[in-house]
């Protein structure tokens, strides 16, 4: 208990000069991610070359073609090749282990060659920095020894049109930033899966508008103030900001794609905490200690019938109205958003996916893949391949985050 006694001694720089004040936060910076790149030399923004044609507010890339000519085994083999191919991307190697910002965005595109978004592991020498004197988060002595070598959250992302559809109406977005300095700015992440619906190109437009709107809202109202240290006393709670961003996306759809709609499952990571906003039947799961826990609740008719013990989960899978949602973006002027916050225990994983995955691949199969595969990216590719192997009747999108443990 020596550490404890020591920590209880007064530090020199405290009390009076540490006036508690509320800096004005009314003006939010208008900075965009592009500005962030140029103005923050300490942070490197890496956009994989293949995806750079899809800027945050740009139009989405050309539609994908169905892979009609290939048979299933070829597709799976291709995916396997992609998984095992050596890392071809440039840019990522230049990323410093200390400051990492990885920005990826996929809108209605063919599955990209895997860009391993895993943050590079720092050398063991970096580990000790996190524990100094009482100025930083105090940890007992023995905790230093337990400190894990994986200090950054790693993530993967994969999406595919499937084997029946002609276009991919799913959209996905992944962003993760991690730094280390005396500023003690917590890790920040934003991950979104949106599954569009509607005829013509309305569905893909609706999901694209949604990811883009939510991403720019969240980065502008949460992330940028955080790294410019302007949100010390931010008036709006995170759950409300996230719900507001979702509401804004809803209005954008209503005005630009009135016939379209979309689901939205999004998660903001700050420190070791996940803030979730959710509408529709895409899902977010937490995987921890071998248990796959569904954190979101489907806003679907069959889910309600299951909750009322009117039908079983098995009956729901074959129900003629299994795709009927009672809540989605683009439906009404105001959308009700489910929010929740959860602490992410060390070693936990978060899985975001569209119904193209969970309708096709069982929970136990999903658990099996994510607990045995080496990297989150590899797991995502494999899950997409499995959905396709099971028929590929729908677009499928998967994002997997791995919390260091």
């Amino acid at each position: 208990m020596n550490w404890f006694r020591k920590l209880l001694q007064p530090t020199k720089s405290q009390s009076a000069q540490e006036k508690i004040s509320a800096p004005s936060t009314a003006d939010e910076p208008e900075a965009t991610v592009a500005e962030l790149k140029s103005e923050s030399p300490a942070l490197k923004v890496t956009e994989p070359a293949a995806e750079s044609s899809a800027p945050l507010n740009g139009t989405h890339a050309q539609k994908s073609e169905p892979e009609s000519g290939k048979d299933l085994s070829e597709v799976v083999a291709d995916l396997d090749n992609l998984i095992t191919e050596p890392e071809p991307e440039d840019g990522l190697e230049a990323t410093s282990p200390q400051e990492t910002v990885v920005l990826r965005m996929e809108l209605d595109e063919e599955p990209q060659p895997p860009t391993h978004a895993t943050a590079p592991l720092p050398s063991t020498g970096d580990l000790m920095i996190s524990v100094v004197d009482g100025a930083t988060r105090p940890l007992p002595q023995d905790a230093i020894l337990e400190f894990s070598p994986l200090t950054h959250t790693a993530f993967g992302q994969a999406t595919d049109v499937g084997r029946m559809r002609t276009n991919n109406q799913d959209s996905a977005f992944s962003f993760f930033a991690s730094g280390r300095s005396v500023d003690d700015i917590p890790d920040f992440g934003l991950f979104i899966v949106a599954d569009g619906m509607g005829g013509h190109q309305d569905g893909e437009k609706a999901s694209a508008i949604t990811t883009r709107t939510v991403a720019s809202q969240v980065l502008n109202t949460m992330y940028l103030p955080m790294i410019s240290r302007q949100n010390k006393n931010n008036d709006v709670p995170i759950a409300e900001s996230l719900a507001n961003a979702t509401q804004k996306a809803n209005i954008e759809i209503m005005s630009h794609v009135p016939e379209g709609g979309t689901t939205l499952s999004s998660v903001v990571i700050i420190g070791d905490r996940a803030y979730i906003a959710h509408v529709g039947d895409s899902r977010i799961y937490m995987f921890h200690h071998g248990i796959l826990e569904k954190l979101t609740r489907d806003h679907s008719l069959v889910q309600r019938l299951i909750e009322l013990d009117q039908i079983t989960i098995e009956e729901a899978a074959d129900h003629p109205q299994k795709n009927v949602l009672y809540r989605a973006l683009g439906q009404n002027d105001v959308v009700e958003v489910d929010t929740l916050t959860r602490r992410l225990p060390p070693g936990a994983m978060l899985l975001l996916c569209s119904d193209g995955l969970w309708n096709q691949v069982s929970d136990s199969a999903i658990s099996d893949v994510i607990s045995h595969v080496h990297s989150p990216q590899e797991a995502c590719q494999k899950l997409v391949a499995m959905a396709n192997a099971a028929g590929g009747i729908d677009n499928v999108t998967v994002i997997l985050l791995q919390i260091p443990g």
Binding site: F4, K6, L7, L8, Q9, P10, T11, S13, Q14, S15, A16, E18, K19, I20, G134, A135, R137, P138, P186, M197, K232, N233, N234, V236, P237, I238, A239, E240, G261, T263, I270, G271, D272, R273, D281, H299, L301, R304, L305, L308, D309, Q310, I311, H319, P320, Q321, N323, V324, L325, Y326, R327, A328, Q331, N332, D338, T339, L340, T341, R342, R343
Partner: protein, 653 residues
């Protein structure tokens, strides 16, 4: 049960192809006037029956067009149509439009029926803000009557299947009429793509293809719920009527009426009315009670009688046993009551066999739990508004006084171990952890005091009086102050983070195992912060100030507000689960014990609620407002009141 073809709806859905022009005459008898509705399978015209030359007799002509080009299919549809029309023609009920004629021309089928000059309930709701309750009740009774008539048809009952506001017409005489026997309404399957929207009024079992008389009862309940609450079920999650209690949105609806509707809306068929006749009977009872002919039903939870505080200062007579006297008066008898010389504003604390409570009479009182007799008292030079903290390691009880001092007193003897002086009144309750007492003072500081010797280890300046009880985790001390700030202080006394609410923070913070730090503020909000960095994840608004410190249990957060409600809020997202109205502001903090929640109100009652649903179990009337929290001591529940008395109630298991 007859299978029937779908008749055209009167709604403004997609338009069919109308074949008849205005002023044309069909079947040499019906002169078309105008189109009054159109739906998926055809059109409804308003027409004049030319057989009646002297009077202007108006009829409704429904034109149905088979949607298929296949001749055989078309034939069978026409056959079905004729069968149905014959069946409907046999019905004789004032709420069912009469059928006059059927015929076919050019592969189109026509049904001539009574024209109802009126407005359907859907339109009526759009035109009005509120409908008279007695009218709605009247319609509900008539709808039960007509549904009961349909359900009693022989050999098979007729299931209406599509009860909803747009299918209920109110005619020019103010009577209900059922329209659109859209009986074969099967749900369109959309296997290919995800779609949005639900039926809203249908019973759960109808989604399994099972429609029976009780499905109509559910839909009638749904229709009434929509009319009474004005909350459109098509815009809500399906089967969630119980989440929108009728009396919450419409105070004019009596509890009895609401109960009938809510019974009709049970998800399980067996929980609903067995027949429409049964439901009608209950509605008629409601009508009688509205007109004052039936005495009101006795309400549960009537205020309990006030037990006279029998305790005398220092010598409380102990009544041998007393249990929940529910049969006779619904009151609970205290095991003992101990009267101090002034108001008790703070909570008690308990060691193994003693109870400690500070009084505004400047004394800390130590009372024997078994008998309610005085063990010792410790005088200070100021009123005591700080609750005592028990430290088992040093066997002391630690408390602050308005004489600026923090005292540590031996639990057994009442002898002073040490005294620590601050520069302001102490109204904050100390927290003992890691062999350190953490306490706030009106001198703006949070102090860390070594429990072994009463010496200061550090002080942190909060910039305003600190009256909250600090919360201590393994890494941080969380404290709130009068300026509205909440600060996370490291164990060495340095600031880790701060969060500013809009008004004074007087309720103590609470940190749960998930690392959520809950802060109630007099600005009316309950905030959930990340204990590691102070980021605010959600806030919950009450309509009063929060002085009551929250407690968390099984993912639910409980706290009171001066808006008189005790709230139960989902800790994950800050959504209200239930609230309980105590009719006067709640200042005191709740206590959770074995699935029950206890709290005192300024209405002088101590309440016991079911923690799951907020239903009242019992209440105990003290002689003064309660501003402190109840405490469990063995099999006793201790509560101090402004009537100077500390009550020890037996815990009923």
């Amino acid at each position: 049960m007859p299978e029937t073809t779908q008749f055209t709806g009167m709604g403004n859905e997609s338009s069919g192809t109308a074949s008849l022009k205005s002023n044309s005459v069909i079947s040499n008898r019906y002169k078309i006037h105008s189109i009054i509705g159109s739906g998926g399978m055809g059109t409804v015209y308003l027409a004049r029956d030319l057989n009646f030359t002297d009077v202007k007799r108006l009829v409704a002509v429904k034109e149905m067009q088979a949607s298929t080009k296949d001749a055989a299919m078309r034939g069978s549809m026409i056959k079905n149509f004729r069968r149905e029309a014959n069946l409907l023609a046999q019905l004789n009920h004032s709420a069912i439009p009469r059928i006059f004629d059927i015929f076919e021309i050019n592969d189109r089928a026509y049904l001539v029926m009574e024209y109802i000059n009126g407005t359907d309930l859907e339109q009526l709701m759009q035109k009005t803000k509120e409908l008279p309750i007695d009218k709605v009740l009247e319609w509900a009774i008539d709808l039960c009557d007509v549904l009961d008539y349909l359900h009693n048809q022989k050999p098979d009952p007729i299931i209406f299947r599509d009860m909803k506001p747009s299918n209920v017409m109110i005619d020019s005489l103010g009577k209900v009429r059922l329209i659109d026997f859209g009986i074969a309404r099967t749900f369109v399957s959309h296997v290919k793509g995800t779609m949005i929207g639900t039926e809203g009024y249908s019973a759960p079992e109808q989604y399994k293809g099972d429609a029976n008389p009780q499905s109509d009862i559910y839909s009638l309940g749904a229709t009434l719920h929509h009319v009474l609450t004005r909350k459109d079920p098509r815009l809500e999650a399906p089967f969630t009527f119980h989440e929108r209690p009728i009396t919450n949105s419409n105070a004019n609806v009596s509890d009895d009426f609401a109960k009938v509707v809510e019974k009709a809306l049970q998800s399980n068929q067996s929980d609903r009315y067995a027949t429409c006749a049964e439901m009608k009977l209950d509605l008629e009872r409601v009508r009688l009670s509205l007109s004052g002919m039936v005495v009101a039903v006795p309400r549960p939870g009537a205020p309990a009688g006030a037990p006279s505080p029998t305790g005398q200062a220092g010598a409380a007579p102990a009544s041998p046993t007393s249990f929940f006297d529910s049969e006779a008066t619904g009151t609970i008898q205290p095991k003992w009551a101990f009267k101090t010389e002034d108001e008790i504003r703070s909570s008690a604390a308990a060691s193994k066999d003693l109870a400690f409570v500070g009084s505004y009479d400047t004394n800390l009182w130590a009372i024997k739990q078994e008998t309610g007799e005085l063990a010792w008292k410790f005088p200070t030079r100021g009123g005591i508004a700080s609750s005592p903290a028990i430290d088992d390691q040093s066997r002391t009880v630690v408390f602050g006084s308005e004489d600026f001092n923090l005292y540590a007193v031996d639990q057994r003897t009442g002898r002073n171990s040490w005294t620590f002086q601050t520069k302001g009144r102490i109204r904050s309750t100390p927290r003992i952890a890691h062999n350190v007492a953490f306490v706030g003072s009106d001198d703006f500081k949070v102090y860390a005091v070594n429990m072994s010797n009463g010496r200061q280890m550090w002080a942190y300046d909060m910039g305003a009086p600190v009256r909250t009880r600090p919360f201590v985790t393994n890494e941080l001390i969380i404290a709130g102050c009068e300026a509205g700030d909440v600060v996370g202080i490291t164990l060495s006394g340095a600031r880790k983070w701060s969060y500013r609410t809009r008004k004074a923070v007087l309720a103590s913070p609470y940190v749960d195992e998930e690392g959520n730090c809950y802060i109630g503020s007099t600005d009316g909000y309950m905030y959930a912060l990340d204990v590691n960095n102070g980021f605010n994840s959600w806030r919950f608004r009450t309509n009063g100030a929060i002085y009551s410190s929250p407690v968390e249990n099984r993912g639910l957060l409980y706290f009171g507000s001066t808006d008189s409600n005790l709230y139960c809020v989902n800790a994950e997202n800050g959504r209200e689960k239930w609230k309980f109205n105590a009719e006067k502001p709640i200042i005191g903090s709740p206590l959770i014990h074995k699935g029950e929640i206890f709290f005192g109100g300024t209405d002088q009652n101590l309440y016991c609620l079911d923690a799951e649903n907020g239903r009242e179990r019992w209440r105990f009337f003290t002689g003064g407002p309660i501003t402190s929290a109840p405490v469990v001591a063995g099999n006793l529940l201790l509560i101090g009141s402004m009537d100077h008395v500390l009550y020890a109630l037996p815990l009923v298991s």
